[in-house]
Subunit: 379 residues, 2 copies
Amino acid sequence: MECQDYALNRTLERENLNLNPLQRGGFLPLEARKALYEFSDGYSVCDYCSGRLDQVKKPSVAGFLDDLAQFLNVDAVRTVHGAREGKFAIMHAICQPGDTILVDGNAHYTTHLAAERNQLKLVEVPTSGHPEYKVEPESYREVLNQLHDQCEEPSLLVLTHVDGDYGNLTDSQGVGKIASEYGIPLLLNCAYSMGRMPIDAKKLKADFVVGSGHKSMAASGPIGVLGLKEEWADKVFKRSSTHSVKEVEMLGCTSRGAPLATLMASFPHIMERVGKWNQEVEKTRKFVAQMEKIGGISQIGVKPTDHDLVRFETSLFHQIAEKHPRRGFFLYEELKKRNIVGIKRGQTKWFKCSVYGFNSQQVEYITRSFQEIAEKHGH
Amino acid sequence: MECQDYALNRTLERENLNLNPLQRGGFLPLEARKALYEFSDGYSVCDYCSGRLDQVKKPSVAGFLDDLAQFLNVDAVRTVHGAREGKFAIMHAICQPGDTILVDGNAHYTTHLAAERNQLKLVEVPTSGHPEYKVEPESYREVLNQLHDQCEEPSLLVLTHVDGDYGNLTDSQGVGKIASEYGIPLLLNCAYSMGRMPIDAKKLKADFVVGSGHKSMAASGPIGVLGLKEEWADKVFKRSSTHSVKEVEMLGCTSRGAPLATLMASFPHIMERVGKWNQEVEKTRKFVAQMEKIGGISQIGVKPTDHDLVRFETSLFHQIAEKHPRRGFFLYEELKKRNIVGIKRGQTKWFKCSVYGFNSQQVEYITRSFQEIAEKHGH
C-alpha cells in the first residue's frame, strides 16, 4: 500500500506570532530542544530503569520529582500524560462509580470526561454568568448544602484554578477552607497556572494539584504533573498486589520518553519565569486596555484580568465581517498577512488570545495590527 | 530554590551498539527526527483541531489513521499513550469490575496492571515452562473448560503476540478460533510485533490489537496504537453524554504532541521494514547459532526463534563472574569497552538481547566481541 502525505510541517505556527493561549505556555527553551534531541528515540528515559520511572537516576527523574514537589509544595508528585489523565487517576483512586463530585461551571471538558469515564455524577457549581463568569467559593457551600439536604455527600471537589475560557483566577484558598469544613478533598486543576504562575498547593489548600507540561510548562506534549498531600499517597500511588514495586494507577510507568526529558530540561526556565508572573499580568492588562481603546472590543471575564488568557467580545470585527467579501475569514487573513496566527479561521464575534512570553515590541506590533485592520475597514 | 543536575544526556546509549530489545524497535529514522523538530512545542498537533484529534487534517492525523487501519486490517484505530493504556481502555470499556479475564503465562506486567486497575480477576493460562515457555492455544480451552465447570465465564481473552521475556511468537489464529467458539473477544498485545512484523488483525482472529510506537514502531515515546473490529467501536469509542464529539475512553484526545508526529513520519519506514521481517528472523537465528557455538550459552524459549528478542542462559559468563575481581560487572564493562551497551550491569546468569536493525558487519562484530570476552577469560 501507498501512504498519504501527512503534511508534517508546522512552519506557519512556528515562524509567526502565535496568539493561541493553548500554545503560548508550551514553547520549548533551547535546553528542552537539546533534551528532545538526546531523548528522541523510543523508550529513551528507560535505559537505567530498575522498575520504577519515578526512581530512575539517569537521567535523574528521581531528583527532578524531589525538586518539583518542593516547587509545588506537595508531599509527593508523579508525571502523568497530561492534566486530564491526572484528574482521571485521582478520581479513579479515591471515588467509587456512582459517587457525586462538584466542579465549577468553568471546568474544562476533560474534567467532565474524567468524571464520566469514572461513572461519577457531576454537579456543577454555577458561575456568576455573563460577563464575569466568576466562581465564588460560597457557591460551593450553597451547592454542598443543597446536596446535604438531599442526603448526598460528594467525595471530591474540583476547582479550575484558571479556566481556559475566560482566564479567571479562582480563590482556591476559599474553596479549600470550605472543603476542609465539610471533610471533602479538593482537586485543583492547574493546567493554565502551573508553570506560568507560582503554585503553593498547601497555601492554596488543595489536596491534589494537576498540571500540564505542554500547556504551561514549556514541555513537548503529552506530559502532565500530579501532586498530592501525603495522606492520599497510599490510595493514589497504591502498589500492585502482584507486581509489588509497580503503581496501579500509573499502570507501572507513565511518560516513558522525550516529553519527560523536555519537562525536566525546562524546569530551571520554569522556576525563573514564574517569578516574573506579575510582569506578565501587567503586560496583559496593558494589552487589554490597548485593544479596548480600538472600540467595539471588550474583555469578558473578571476585570482587570489576573491571567494572560483573555477572551474578547469583538462586535467591531463581527460588523466588518458581515459586509466583507471574505466574510468571517477576513480577520484571520489580515492577521496572517501581518505574520500573526492563532485566532481561529472564520471567527470574528469573539476570540481568545494571549501575549504570554512576547516582549513589549511584539505586543505593540500585535495591538497596532489590530488597530490597522480596524482602520482599514473604516473604524 | 536551586534545582539539581538531571544528567540529561544519552550519548552512551545513542552512540554505541545498543542490544536492549526494548530500544531496538524504537530508533527514529531521519523523517521522524525532522517531525520531532517541527512538532517539538507543547500542543503541537492541535493547531487545526476542531474537537477530535483523530479527525485533525493538518497534520493529517485522519489520513494517517485510515492508512494505519488498512495496514493492520482493523476496522477502526486510535492512537493511545502506549500498549498498556490501550489494554486498560479496552478492558475498561468492555469488562465490569469483578469480571474474569484470561491471559497467557508470558503476559507483560502491564497486562496484569491494566486488569488490576480495572478490578478484574485475572486467570493465567500456563505456558509449557522451562526451557520453551510455549503458549499453546489448547491451554486456553482447558482453562476455559475448568472455569466453565465453576460457572465462570470470562469476558475477555488476552494473548501476548510476542512476549518480552523469550520472544516467543504465539498462535493467535489458534487462540482466536477458540475465542470465537466460546463467544469471547480476543485482545492481542502486539507491543513486540506491530511495526516489526506484518500484522493482519482479521487473519490473526483478534477483536482488538494494541501496539507500541516507542517499542516497535520507530516512534518517540510515549505513543501506542489501539485497533479493533467494527462491532466493538460503539463500546470502546463511546461518545460523551455531555460533550458529544468527545470519546470517553480517550478522555477526548490522547497523544496531543510530538510522539504522534514521529509515529506518522515513521510510517512509510515501518511499512517497508515489516516487509523485510523474514530477513530479521534469519539474521537472529544465525546470531543465536554463533552465540551458542561459544559454549556455555543457550537460547531459552521456542527454537528456532521467530523473533529478534532472544533470551540466553549464559552459564559461561556466570562462571567467569564468580572468579572475576569485578564480579558480575565484568561483562558490562568488557562490552562497553567494545562500544556495546544494553545488557544490564551486573547481569551474567542470563540476558535478553536483540540485533534487530543491525547490519551483518555489526552483528558479526557483536558476536566476535562475545567470543573475545570468553577467550580472554580462558574459554
